[in-house]
Amino acid sequence: MAKELWKGNEAVAEAAIRAGCRYFFGYPITPQNEIPEYLSRHLPEHGGCFVQAESEIAAINMVYGAAGSGARVMTSSSSPGISLKQEGVTYIACAELPAVIVNMMRGGPGLGNIAPSQADYYQATRGGGNGDYRTVVLAPATIQEAADFTQEAFDIADYYRTPVVVLADGMIGQMMEAIEWRKPKERALPPKDWATDGTRGKRPHNIINSLYIDAKDCAVQNRKLQEKYDRITETEVRYEEFMAQDAEILFVAYGTTARIARAAVLKLRKDGVKAGLFRPVTLWPFPEKALRECAAHENVAAVIDVELSMGQMIDDVKIALAGAKPVRFVGMGGGAIPAPQELVDEAYKALGRCGK
């Protein structure tokens, strides 16, 4: 199929339709507005339903209801709006329902600004709401990946009965790139025999619930969730290495920041410095073992974590490395973006050399 030029937000919206999502509930916020715009125009053409809710909290609870009925459903927002949705996300996680949540991150904290950011890493990878739960977090670095991962997010959500977050910075939402439409690899998805889609007088009631009054029951549910998270950690970890095999400087970055780091790697290589990149693709489960092994090579002198935040993923990087290698940081909060040259400069500092 010929390549087409897609804006990130539109590609995410079209990917949802292609994945069979027919229900979208949301509330507008920049820089992700093209997602609801596109779905409001195109979902009805596919017999679907778009609702602009009165608030983010209403929207996520509509997602909760639609997911409970077994439908493929999505919501999208940007950082402050995602904060508002956390109550619903923890309910959905506890009730073990599949849903897809897209966060096109913007500068924070608070209302912040509309510039691209990666400062919701903690929120996305540590659950975000109350209680012991996790959401699978997929971090696209290109519009092609945004289209691929959004489609696949629905399969992962259905397979594990768990909310899946597509986490990208506003740049992924706003920029345009050439993509090809392709289907995700097929998974054998279990039947949705838990859905509250009508008994037709033929089976007992299904109940969707996140309230376990008895502490023993709640402990059982927690254990069940944890076993599922262990299974996900075992099977769903994804990452990409770029020129990492012989690297003396190893950058760790995800999303668009990984592309800035990649530009820095190429520049350093041109200058004779062996630089490489480790890019986590799933942020939860974090590719802990793979990063540890990648950084364990004796040629790796230092690891440089790069984020559009004041340093959040760096915690997971340090856990993975367990003190084996020095970890340095380049990043900015509030929507600012480092230039490749700043990463190059940091690499020379780490090596104790003067750069070009």
Binding site: L5, K7, M171, Q174, R259, P338, V344
Partner: protein
């Protein structure tokens, strides 16, 4: 082109801003006193306001919509300077009919001014992939702007992945669009690197340098 005022409209992703910036620079290099007004109040990123420094270095005066990357950009009253005599003006308008609505406010004054209203078309965008779909957008933009499009800018591209074949395929579709709308093709815009690979007979080839770069496309500066 001798018009005093050139207005650049089109669908999101057609390459309006890239074209408007290149056009302003081309006029400036011809020795004209150019003013570029960023009238994009619908797009939060990748607007001509981000390229103010480069444009000013080329001698282009830039009028920004207020607040740079602001959540609520507003039209700067300084835009009225474009209607003063002896000004060579370029208006970079926001995408889609929604973005073109801002022109409605200036429609009466624009009609009194010697102007060209250009619509940029990229046939690699799914919503304007055929001449029929592209015309629907063009007509909606006209309704929203309360002005008639006077010229087409053919700009079929895939950002950095564009090939000569893309441009030639798009040029054929642009000719169809011109035929069915009666609006002439003013320019075939294409990346400068493709200039000697493409030979198009109708409309003027217009070489484009890429100003609207992503952060990783900016080559680290050599010291």
């Amino acid at each position: 082109m001798e018009n005093r005022l050139t207005i650049v409209t089109g669908h999101y992703g057609s390459g309006k801003t890239e074209f408007a910036v290149n056009l302003a620079v081309a006029f400036a290099r011809e020795g004209r006193a150019v003013t570029l007004a960023d009238l994009d109040i619908v797009n939060p990123y990748f607007c001509s306001r981000e390229r103010k420094a480069e444009l000013e270095a080329e001698g282009v005066r830039v009028i920004l919509s207020s607040g740079g990357n602001a959540d609520l950009p507003a039209v700067n009253p300084a835009v009225n300077a474009l209607f003063e005599p002896n000004v060579c003006g370029v208006m970079d308008v926001g995408g889609d009919p929604a973005g073109a609505r801002v022109l409605g406010r200036f429609a009466a004054r624009i009609r009194e001014t010697d102007h060209e209203l250009l619509c940029v078309v990229n046939f690699n965008r799914p919503e304007t992939a055929t001449p029929e779909k592209a015309e629907r957008y063009l007509r909606e933009i006209e309704r929203s702007a309360k002005l008639a499009v006077t010229g087409l800018v053919h700009n079929t591209h895939l950002c950095g992945d564009t090939t000569a074949a893309d441009v030639l395929r798009g040029a054929e579709l642009a000719r169809e669009l011109a035929g069915q709308t009666g609006i002439p093709i003013r320019y075939h815009a294409l990346a400068r690197r493709l200039m000697d690979q493409v030979n198009i007979s109708t409309g003027e080839p217009f070489p484009m340098d890429i100003y609207m770069k992503k952060p990783w496309e900016i080559e680290p500066t050599e010291e």
